[in-house]
């Protein structure tokens, strides 16, 4: 059921001075929400920019929508949002709506205003709003950008840090918008978003890809990752033994805790420990820490 991919990547690489993005192979599952998790500078934006066709100076092949070759069709079916100001700074919201209508065939102006309204942008104010886009706050800008992309009929969304400028209430709304988008597609709509703060997006993440220093260090369906690792807590008298077995390890004066690979759990037999299912954010942090240290 989840064997199909919306994007297939082979031998992708992009070199900068002192940094290299290198992805030998990656399939992004179709019909799901996939999170790209990593610290600042891990290469998330570079990767999304390549996927979105903003950056073309890379090596490797990217296949969209199961072999679709028609670039116009790929563009029409893909929505992208990012941190850049890609609307003209002086454009007002009605001008943004008109321009998007010209750029994309399946842009629904009424839906755009509906979503703006739903996100708390004063609808009566919008139509005669003389305020240029660059005069809006960061959170307001992101709301307009999101409304703009969700107002289009698409099959895939590439969202670069969509939650960052939003307050907790809006992040929750964004999660629900993603779920509605996925539901509407009935297995055909996919979302790929990056985040450095997975906690807010945990309940919408189906597949997680963790990136460190330009490389993918862990990936999988969130339910599978939660079975791959076990959260272990114990007393300090067992800390030295546990330290050598655990995948990640942290000690305080009250005891230790860390993640253990499920396959290694047997080695902890005899220790007085408690076990829990870890959250995606706990897994991400442990994995990121591990690979930051190695590099």
């Amino acid at each position: 059921m989840y064997k199909e991919s919306v994007i297939k990547i082979k031998d992708l690489s992009k070199k900068f001075k002192g940094f290299e993005l290198n992805i030998p192979s990656l399939d992004i599952p179709k019909g799901f929400a996939t999170a790209l998790i990593g610290e600042n500078g891990a290469g998330k934006s570079t990767f999304i920019n390549i996927l979105a066709g903003i950056r073309l100076d890379y090596k490797g092949t990217i296949d969209y929508f199961n072999g679709e070759k028609d670039e116009q069709l790929i563009r029409e079916n893909t929505g992208y949002t990012g941190p850049g100001n890609y609307f003209m700074p002086h454009w007002t919201i009605p001008q943004i709506a008109s321009a998007s209508g010209l750029l994309f065939e399946k842009f629904d102006k009424d839906k755009f205003y509906d979503i703006c309204n739903m996100l708390g942008i004063e609808i009566s104010g919008i139509k005669k709003n003389k305020k240029g886009f660059n005069k809006l706050s960061d959170g307001m800008k992101m709301k307009v950008i999101l409304a703009n992309v969700f107002a289009r009929e698409t099959k895939m969304l590439l969202l670069d840090e969509p939650a960052s400028p939003l307050d907790p209430l809006m992040r929750d709304k964004l999660c629900q918008m993603i779920r509605e988008y996925i539901e509407k597609g009935d297995g055909e709509n996919s979302v790929f978003f990056s985040t450095h703060n997975i906690t807010d997006m945990e309940n919408v993440t189906d597949y997680a890809i963790i990136m460190e220093k330009g490389k993918i260090v862990e990936q999988g369906f969130s339910e599978d990752l939660k079975e791959k690792y076990i959260l272990v807590k114990g007393d300090n008298e067992d800390a030295d033994i546990a330290k050598n077995i655990l995948f990640s390890f942290q000690k305080s004066s009250y005891g230790f805790e860390g993640l253990c690979l499920a396959e290694d759990a047997g080695k902890l037999a005899g220790l007085n420990i408690s076990k829990e299912v870890p959250g995606l954010s706990q897994i991400s942090i442990a994995v990121m820490k591990k690979y930051t240290k190695l590099a």
């Binding site: 059921m1 989840y2 019909g31 799901f32 929400a33 999660c175 629900q176 779920r179 509605e180 996925i182 539901e183 009935d186 297995g187 309940n203 919408v204 993440t205 189906d206 597949y207 369906f221 969130s222 339910e223 939660k226 829990e276 299912v277």
Partner: protein, 125 residues
């Protein structure tokens, strides 16, 4: 359906458990379809993969059958299997009671006495 985020029980198990109850109690009848995976994820505000895992769990236990492109429908429940399921549940609760008794330092014979007493009060109620 009630989902608890911090109960310690994985969300997929909570979902599977509640559907199992509805099926075994007859609230969901043979041949009825479960809600769509993505629709349920949206309504419960959780990820798609979690609902998918819950449905797979139900399928593994023989309670539902997946039909490609149509979803999951409720299987006919034979009474022997129903009984089996209830017995398993009963055992699970009894094991919980035993471990609580251990913590509270209640002896085995005391525990059995309490059980007998509870059965009597239930019957007289």
């Amino acid at each position: 359906m009630r989902i608890m985020q911090n109960s310690g029980i994985p969300i997929y198990q909570q979902i599977a458990g509640q559907f199992q109850e509805d099926i075994l109690s007859g609230k969901l009848k043979q041949g009825e379809y479960l809600p769509s995976i993505r629709g349920l994820a949206k309504d419960l505000r959780i990820s798609v993969i979690t609902t998918m895992k819950a449905y797979e769990e139900l399928e593994k236990n023989g309670l539902v059958t997946a039909v490609q492109g149509k979803g999951y429908y409720v299987n006919a429940q034979d009474s022997e299997m129903l009984r089996e399921q209830h017995i398993r549940k009963m055992e699970e609760y009894l094991i919980n009671a035993i471990s609580a008794a251990k913590i509270a330092n209640v002896s085995n014979s005391e525990l059995i006495d309490i059980l007998k007493m509870l059965i009597e009060t239930e019957e007289n109620a």
